[in-house]
Chain length 333, copies 4
């Protein structure tokens, strides 16, 4: 059983069904009937007028968001272990035209408002130093921690004081909302988020994420940039259809709850081994090389995460019955 | 009946079936079993060792190819009506870091070897003028004309003399090969092409094109750039599976033949109205505003293409019976 | 005697004297007393509040101006023989992050308002085509023609209607004003110019041009970009001092008048050979290869300008006595 | 008396004299007699064949060097307090097309070979993480420490093992060589440096630094990039003449020795206050806010360098008699 990544999971049957249903002639690019429904669907979900667009990957979604918030000569404050810094091959530098990621280092890849503030204060306000234009946070974080609405709002407050935009990388936004039990608006626009990368691929989609603009003025330019980046697919209806299927009946939330519950099974078994509280669908545990070897020999796959540590990711597709054997194996170590 | 664009056509049932079949857990990104088969499948097809990668759009494929062939301070010679110049929102400028498209203007969007040569000769060999690094041609062209192998080879000869790379935008490569009746190798690497954007989306795919490197040294860097552009999808197997389905049993060629034959039905009806010979799946015809109005009122959709001209595109999904009414309507004008 | 380029001329003695006088300790970068006077000096000259900054080259000045007016995904309309297109090694593409120069082709490298308008009209207003954001004109043009205030105003009118910025490359702005006999305001901000590259190097300076922002909101961001491009010299006072010396007592105008008068001597001798009216300090003449050879053997240097054509440039340092021998030699051909 | 920065110092009389002497007609750009001598002059100095070019600022020199060593999707390892990271407004990101500065954090802004190695080892060799292509070190460092030849060689050894280029930011290279007492070759190409930014402006020049390519293959492309960045001055002879004057009779070394000696006067007075050994022309000392106030009231200017710390910079123009009063004032605190 694979606990490598939620990317390894298959596509949800309802998404596959939606693709099949969408398979007829329609207008090219985003001129089709499905794409036309995105703004409305996300405005309904977030209970405010938003602009939304499909984009094939989280990396592209994040980078487009940062480029909308940051000029080439400026910078984006983010955590030093953020996906945009660690795992996107420099995509933010590409999309922004060379803007700088300004790294901060709080625990669990979760940025504190105070850290953002002190980072800003340390920058001389002259042309020699790159000036920040935005903050990017990841919810849930790379270590599966979840920002509460008030934590986001505190960062947004610093942003407002200093004229910075606020981006949320929501590759696992669904898992965060599922954990919080709040309305998705509470942890986004109501807390001061300008742009959200809303992930669906790890959560049952095939190849469609959404870029949601709460600051709708920023959407217009991003439509040009999306095309310029080669991301305006000529049969966009197959991306829109996936997203609409995920939103329909809150499938996104249902899948995330399932994945989160799976991680809790592991968390309970891991006990003292846990490096961070398990809040979403990832568990990071202490695990010696020989213990890792034991688990792998028993048929469980996962990533080592630095020395003596491992990452275990659950997905919507894994039932309690699927996960219990791993929990048992960990408990038995 | 829509003759706007082959992008409007649905996805071929065999491609849909392949997606359904691929829908199980596998490794993320391009680490899956389907993606692993691409190099082999294209090497078999082209009868030479190539490297191949999936990419969601032709715009991204083209731009990645140009970036592999051209440094930021250099230029790419192409037709002034090429898709990369007219319809890709400046994507080549983005991917290459600001390289220059150097425009030439032959008939039917088809670049002649002699034109490439004279364009090069006119550039001063100093640091003040941008120096060309590559040539990009489109086969079939934006006006549905097809380069013959010897025409490509003549351009490649100029490229070799001047140290230029040669890219072929093959958004409708299948249509070109179907028309030529040659082996796909004859009009690509055997004629001197370094990189091919091999289009599948207009020809029955959903959202996967292939970037084929005959010069395999250029592939390595492009894998980094693909990721950096946000095009390394986390569930890449769904792109690879589409492409493999298209290659299987030469479905790509079968579909292209069907589309080409449809265009011939229109061509025969259009007669003297034709602006260019119909060689692929597009017919460009003279059509007055009132004639266009007549056709549209009869239920036929298509693009105006400048004043008094129209573009009619057929696709793999349209049967002779589907197209004949349009042909009749044109003949009756 | 050299008629290659006004760049070959030495530095004016008053500029050299100003450099010597400035040679004492002062604050670094643009924090010095000389640089602090630039805004005031140019505001006085143009009789309106402007922001001005020194920059070492015209290429950098032009590119910074374009980057201030144009986002990476947009375009700048200019003449196909403009210096920014032909002779700046793709610098606009570098500074703008890959924006597109959109070429038009009127006579004498002089863009007509009507041409700008028709170019704009032909661009589809969608995300597939690059949208223009600015127009750049050169005064005097690459062929030594001078835009009159009403010609500039007509272009600015189109710009205003379409939300485009207007940049003037004034590498030979002094020569243009000298010819027009108007106030420098008349042909710039009063006619609708947003940013002026004001050249001094060809006209007696050593290595300082000025970038003058009539739209002062655009200056702020350009100060960051200037530094980011490595153009914020650490001893900027030596550039500011040059410019102030050129402005002092209208030395810039005096020098330009001298250069223009020199070109008139050639113009009178060239008569029917002239390809364009001589309005600034350049004469373009018909000259066969053997005639060119005759002149060169007599000791006159100049550039060939395409087949059967030559460019003769005069500078502030050449007296009538210096130029008369060339005029005589041309007349004697 | 100012101890802010060596940038505040005037231009050396011999450099002014060289400018006056160069002030006659010559060919434009770098086609003049002075520029033609640069390759030879630096080859003589370094006792190996090099290519050298003038460039107006250290920021541009550094960025051109990095762009020659690093593709846009790669990275450059440097110290987190390096000038390229802290004080160049993101210029490396601009010139490289968005490459990443990969920060390491040793003492005194001096990078150890072992640190480079462990930084490289921690990077996964896949397309998701940015791969390093070069290392950039500053000699003397931002804290006035000097790399010994064997320290440079140890870094170069790691670079060679991993295929990384090695750049030396020598804004104060003269001060480093003056301190080392070695041949300039020993701490550059003989130790494995590929490209050197050789600073002259802080050391008596006006506005000309040199970019010296020990790996001459990298020079060719940089000539295009220099022009493309707007740094190919049209009267380049005035930059070449400055550099030649600085090289003549080893004026560069003489000036650096004078500046270094001045710093030693401060060092001796500062004693326990010193934060780092004084090896070049900068002293960093502990200084409380009230002590700083005392010094400033006595007429001494300098930068605060974080809380309770100050930076004192000496230059070639300050004699022992100029500096002794500051030394006395510090001793008297």
């Amino acid at each position: 059983m694979r606990f490598f990544s939620d990317n390894a999971a298959p596509v949800h049957p309802k998404v596959m069904a939606a693709l099949a249903k969408a398979n007829e002639q329609d207008s090219a690019y985003d001129g089709d009937a499905y794409s036309a429904r995105l703004n409305g669907a996300f405005s309904d979900l977030f209970e405010t007028d938003v602009e939304a667009m499909w984009v094939a990957t989280g990396t592209a979604a994040n980078s487009l968001a940062l480029a909308a918030l940051c000029q080439p000569h400026q910078g984006v404050i983010c955590h030093e272990e953020a996906h945009i810094e660690q795992d996107e091959a420099g995509a933010p530098g590409f999309y922004t035209g060379g803007a700088k990621l300004m790294l901060v280092g709080d625990e669990g890849a979760k940025v504190a408002a105070e850290t953002v503030k002190s980072h800003c204060v340390a920058i001389r306000d002259d042309v020699h130093q790159v000036q920040p234009a935005a903050v990017s946070i990841t919810n849930a974080t790379e270590y599966g921690l979840v920002y509460r609405p008030d934590e986001v709002a505190a960062i947004a407050q610093i942003c407002a004081e200093r004229g910075l935009g606020l981006h949320m990388d929501g590759a696992r936004f669904a898992n965060a909302v599922a954990m919080l039990g709040c309305h998705p608006a509470d942890v986004t626009w109501k807390a001061g988020v300008d742009i959200l990368s809303f992930g669906f691929v790890k959560n049952g989609g095939m190849n469609a994420e959404a870029l949601v603009f709460f600051d709708r003025d920023l959407a217009h330019i991003s439509r040009y940039r999306l095309k310029r980046a080669g991301h305006l697919q000529s049969k966009g209806r197959y991306l829109a259809a996936q997203i609409l299927a995920m939103l329909d009946g809150d499938l996104w939330l249902e899948n995330a709850r399932a994945a989160n519950e799976g991680a809790q099974i592991i968390a309970r078994a891991a006990g003292e081994r846990l490096l961070y509280p398990v809040e979403a669908n990832e568990a990071f545990i202490r695990l010696s090389a020989s213990e890792a070897e034991t688990l792998r020999r028993a048929g469980f796959d996962f990533y080592d995460w630095g020395e003596g540590q491992a990452r275990l990711v659950t997905s919507w597709t894994q039932s309690a019955a699927d996960i219990q054997p791993l929990a048992n194996a960990i408990a038995a170590l």
